[in-house]
């Protein structure tokens, strides 16, 4: 069959491949090249070697947003997964009423875009803080950090919960019943039966939460905008600001170098994470 099909590529593959080349491949290659250049417009570039990378890595703002993002990613990954798994375990209990309604409610924030979510929470947090007499969100780094964590929890717990529920439901009930017959209590069943069988699901959820946390942009822009004084600026927003709000010929190249570093970082984290947790998976 593949022989007959083969000559039909202009119809089957060309539209997707063409837009993929224009939408991804060319910008990616061009972007990698530009990270070694100084430029203001793409048609006029001077090759400068690794200088952009040196400048990017010695930019203290870039390094501080790296730290902020890493800390944020750790907090969010742990909290989202612990909460999501706990809720999923509770909602898969026998004879608990209204589980579908709870699933519906917890998942809802995922459908609303990051910009809208950011402003909803900005209004909410600003009001809470002003009522207790603290600084407004825009003036306070710690409040900005926990605001972002809170918003991300509110948004992503429901998503991961759905995936954990699906994972829990795919564990054969014989395993759990066998554990019960052998006299295991709920805690033992969780650690010895449920969690080991959930490893593929945990891999996926960790992967999604870590990469989401590193790539977070819309929520960051809408909630704090990086204020005060760039201290709540995460990597994605820092790169954006390097491109579009810095004046001077050198910043474009530095921005692109930062983007390449960011890209390598995200790809590396994804690979390491997938490999590390894949090895802990058990065969069913």
């Amino acid at each position: 069959m593949s022989k007959v099909l083969k000559k039909w590529w202009p119809l089957f593959v060309l539209p997707t491949a063409l837009s993929f080349v224009f939408g991804f491949v060319i910008p990616f290659v061009q972007g990698t090249y530009l990270s070694f250049c100084q430029f203001k417009v793409i048609s006029d570039t001077t090759f400068v070697g690794l200088r952009n990378y040196v400048d990017a890595l010695s930019d203290s703002q870039f390094m501080s947003s790296f730290g902020f993002t890493a800390l944020f990613a750790v907090t969010v990954t742990v909290l989202v997964n612990v909460f999501a798994l706990a809720i999923a375990l509770a909602l898969t209990r026998n004879r608990l009423r209204g589980t579908n309604a709870y699933r519906t409610v917890f998942f809802m924030p995922n459908l609303i875009g990051g910009i809208v979510l950011g402003y909803i929470w900005q209004i909410l947090i600003n009001c809470v803080l002003s009522n207790v007499g603290a600084d407004l969100l825009a003036l306070n780094t710690v409040a900005g950090y926990w605001g972002l964590v809170l918003l991300t929890l509110w948004q992503q717990v429901g998503y991961m919960m759905i995936i954990y529920i699906a994972g829990l439901q795919s564990i054969p009930t014989d395993y759990i019943e066998a554990a019960k017959v052998d006299g295991a209590n709920a805690w033992k069943t969780l650690w010895k039966v449920k969690i080991p069988n959930l490893m593929p699901t945990i891999t996926i959820c960790l992967f999604l939460t870590i990469t989401n946390a590193f790539k977070l942009f819309d929520q960051n822009l809408a909630l704090t905008g990086g204020d005060p004084n760039h201290s709540t600026e995460m990597l994605a927003l820092n790169i954006y600001n390097t491109f579009y709000s810095r004046v001077g010929a050198k910043w474009m190249g530095i921005g692109q170098a930062k983007a390449v570093i960011f890209c390598i970082l995200v790809v590396a984290i994804s690979l390491i994470q997938l490999r590390a947790t894949k090895s802990k998976e058990v065969q069913q």
Binding site: M1, S2, V4, L5, K6, W8, W9, F12, P15, T16, S19, F20, V21, G23, F24, I26, P27, G31, L34, I42, R93, R95, L96, T104, V105, M108, N110, L111, I112, G113, G114, I115, V116, Y119, I120, I123, L124, C127, S130, N131, I162, I204, C205, L208, T211, K215, F217, D218, L221, A236, I239, Y240, F243, M252, G255, A259, F262, C263, V267, S270
Partner: protein
């Protein structure tokens, strides 16, 4: 048994409280969108609307007429529907071809698609918006071409994951009976893939509808604003914010999404699960 019942009751009460916390931010926006502009400030946001502060639908009218909500909604709708339809049709055909032909070209293409899923948008941000300007892709219809290229990674990955589970015998039988590859695809493969179409469609719709940065950088934002761009414009640049119309705007964004979600939540949740398992 008595103990299980008690635990269930405690969990139920706990979840009831927790889901109120989940809904409250949206309820708060809703209440405030009906207040008069002067009655919305940081200390009164938690108050309910009273006769004195009730503004009726004034905020909604301002948002609709002055802020261009209707046109933004229209642009968002056009971009999302066109892009998602393009992604579904083109990527499913591409995925079928890639799996069935599976020569070196297909293998390389597939790996590139998978790679594109992890690459952050900031990597392409500048070059892509330049390229889009040069090629004239900066209008609401043409931007769909970029969405097709960008959404192809996830879509091809999920579709080809499913195609691998379809036995080739059915397709071969159709071909022997005289179907061309096009007929085989549309009469045999496409109906089998229906669940995957729904899953991919949902994931891509959620992404395109809520995407902010790509249309912001590519479209001429003085002419075309999508919904996320419109919301962002309330804050950026203007200085003083009209909180009332802004909250009315947010409400008008949320309500259609929530309604759609409540109608087809089963499909949405299944689609997300399928996407995660394949992803």
């Amino acid at each position: 048994m008595g103990r299980e019942k008690l635990t269930n009751r405690i969990i139920s009460i706990f979840f009831a409280v927790l889901s109120l916390a989940w809904i409250y931010p949206m309820v708060m926006i809703c209440i405030n969108s009906f207040k008069q502009e002067s009655a919305i400030n940081t200390s009164s946001v938690f108050d309910l609307v009273t006769g004195d502060t009730f503004a009726g639908v004034a905020n909604y009218i301002t948002a609709l007429t002055k802020q261009g909500f209707a046109s933004a909604f229209g642009y968002s709708l056009v971009i999302t529907v066109t892009s998602v339809v393009l992604i579904l049709v083109c990527c499913s055909m591409c995925a079928w071809y890639v799996v069935r032909v599976n020569n070196r070209f297909c293998k390389v293409l597939y790996l590139l698609f998978v790679f594109s899923m992890v690459v952050p948008f900031q990597m392409l941000m500048f070059t892509l918006s330049n390229l889009a300007d040069t090629l004239g892709l900066n209008t609401p219809f043409n931007i769909c071409f970029i969405y097709l290229g960008f959404g192809a990674g996830l879509a091809v990955f999920m579709f080809s994951g499913f195609v691998k589970t379809i036995p080739t015998e059915i397709e071969e039988a159709a071909m022997i009976d005289g179907c061309s590859p096009v007929q085989t695809f549309f009469h045999v493969v496409l109906p089998i893939m229906k669940p995957t179409y729904i899953s991919v469609g949902i994931l891509e719709t959620m992404w395109v509808w809520n995407d902010y940065l790509l249309p912001y950088l590519v479209l001429d934002t003085t002419k075309y604003k999508t919904i996320p761009i419109l919301i962002q414009y309330f804050r950026g640049g203007y200085g003083s914010v009209e909180l009332g119309p802004m909250m009315a705007c947010i409400m008008m964004v949320i309500i259609p999404i929530v309604v759609v979600y409540l109608i087809c939540q089963r499909y949405i949740i299944n689609g997300v699960v399928a996407g995660a398992v394949k992803g």
